[in-house]
Symmetry: C2
Subunit: 261 residues, 2 copies
């Protein structure tokens, strides 16, 4: 089960840091891009070499690596090598995929996610089929991490004010996480997300669910909020992967976070 | 704009049929799979050769081809060739992607979707960022087709009973489609989806929005429902692509549908 893998990896690494591996090429945007030394190669090779280097550099202080499908969309064939390198370095491989399909299409997604070697994936509860997805995922030895409360400004209306069965949408999702025995929930910590919402989610899901926390650090979320959850997995992204010295950057966060271990 | 492309393609082909190009390999599941004659090859080659053959066979009676990312997840590099073949045959290429991310991650998805040559993609309104996504997509000359009312059984609770600002979730989405000038909406026609819901959506979105209709034919949706919408794009999937004679199968549907043109 993914929860046991999480306990093992956090214990062995002495860290609950997850790295968002989201490499953009210079032709995609103007800042936060893969450095020049990689980009003389073909796109796929540039993305792969950069990714493998990052994985190696952060491995002492991280327990998981989470590439987002949207950064590899034309070149998903390299994700298999990224998952393998992640495992070779003793970390868990999570695909940030926000799976939003139904039925046999979700089955196909899980086939390929397992084929690529990932341990877990993120899932959107929008279509209401969390139960079926979790069952199928667990048959395939995959963990499911459910988008529960995002913290982009627009999510306030869609996940906090919106209702399902008369209760706030995010709490319906949290209840579903508990009932379906999903493995984790994604919670953003910036903008409108108050401490009480995090506490509400923790109370709803029980103490064996992993909290994939987004937005701590440069995006403004306070590390203090980590103490509200039992099983944190704290994501860091651009502040590490685009740093001149990723290893040093992640070590500095590790020093801040370790008191919450 | 995608709407003009839609008008041109439907006019030139004399058809509003879209093909869901969702090829599964025999190792993925037991039925509805790519035929044996393709599968002695490497996975990517099998998926590509099957896809190109289907595109050619259906091209006389279809105006668009819609591969779903989840069926190509380990091999997205071949989607570029699929989009090119689709264009070579005079049809539009839509990526069924259900994009559910935010900010720069959506930007990365759109970069790759355009790079692969697609005309439009499907989008989930779950995170509330439809406005930003449509703006960015239109800058990139991409159409956005928003998941508005799915018809899997669980969607009844999540899209019909759930509320945003006190109104049914699907009608909030329809209103958003109109306000953001998104290009289309995905509407499922099976299970709980009554005719009045389709009419409600049509009334909300205005007459320049494309309805990507799912579930007609073998899945049980009645072709009669097509008459409720101004700009239909009617999806057919396994009944065509896994038919012994895809060209003949799609022609038979064309005979049924053409009276709604």
């Amino acid at each position: 089960m993914f929860y046991e893998k999480y306990l093992k990896a956090t214990n062995e690494k002495g860290s609950f840091i997850n790295i968002n591996l989201d490499p953009a090429l210079p032709k995609q945007r103007s800042s936060n891009v893969v450095p020049d030394k990689y980009t003389s190669k073909e796109d796929a090779q540039a993305l792969l070499d950069f990714s493998l280097d990052i994985i190696e550099q952060v491995s002492d202080y991280c327990c998981s690596i989470k590439p987002n499908t949207q950064y590899f969309l034309g070149h998903t064939e390299i994700l298999k090598k990224i998952a393998k390198k992640t495992h070779d370095e003793g970390m868990l491989a999570i695909l940030d995929h926000k799976l939003s399909d139904i039925g046999s299409t979700n089955g196909s997604a899980m086939f390929w996610i397992r084929e690529m070697g990932f341990d877990a994936f993120t899932f959107s509860p929008f279509a209401g089929n969390t139960q079926k997805t979790v069952e199928k995922a667990h048959e395939n030895n995959l963990g499911v991490i459910v988008l529960t409360l995002m913290s982009n400004p627009e999510a306030e209306k869609m996940m906090l004010d919106a209702t399902v069965n008369g209760r706030p949408y995010y709490l319906h999702t949290a209840k579903t996480v508990k009932e379906t025995q999903a493995d984790g929930c994604v919670v953003g910590l910036t903008c409108f997300v108050e401490d009480k919402y995090i506490k509400n989610i923790q109370e709803s899901v029980g103490d064996k669910v992993i909290f994939l926390l987004q937005g701590i650090g440069p995006q403004g979320g306070s590390a203090n909020k980590i103490r509200y959850v039992t099983n944190p997995l704290v994501s860091l992204g651009r502040a590490v992967i685009y740093s001149d010295d990723p290893k040093d950057a992640v070590e500095q966060y590790h020093q801040i976070f370790k008191k919450y271990l």
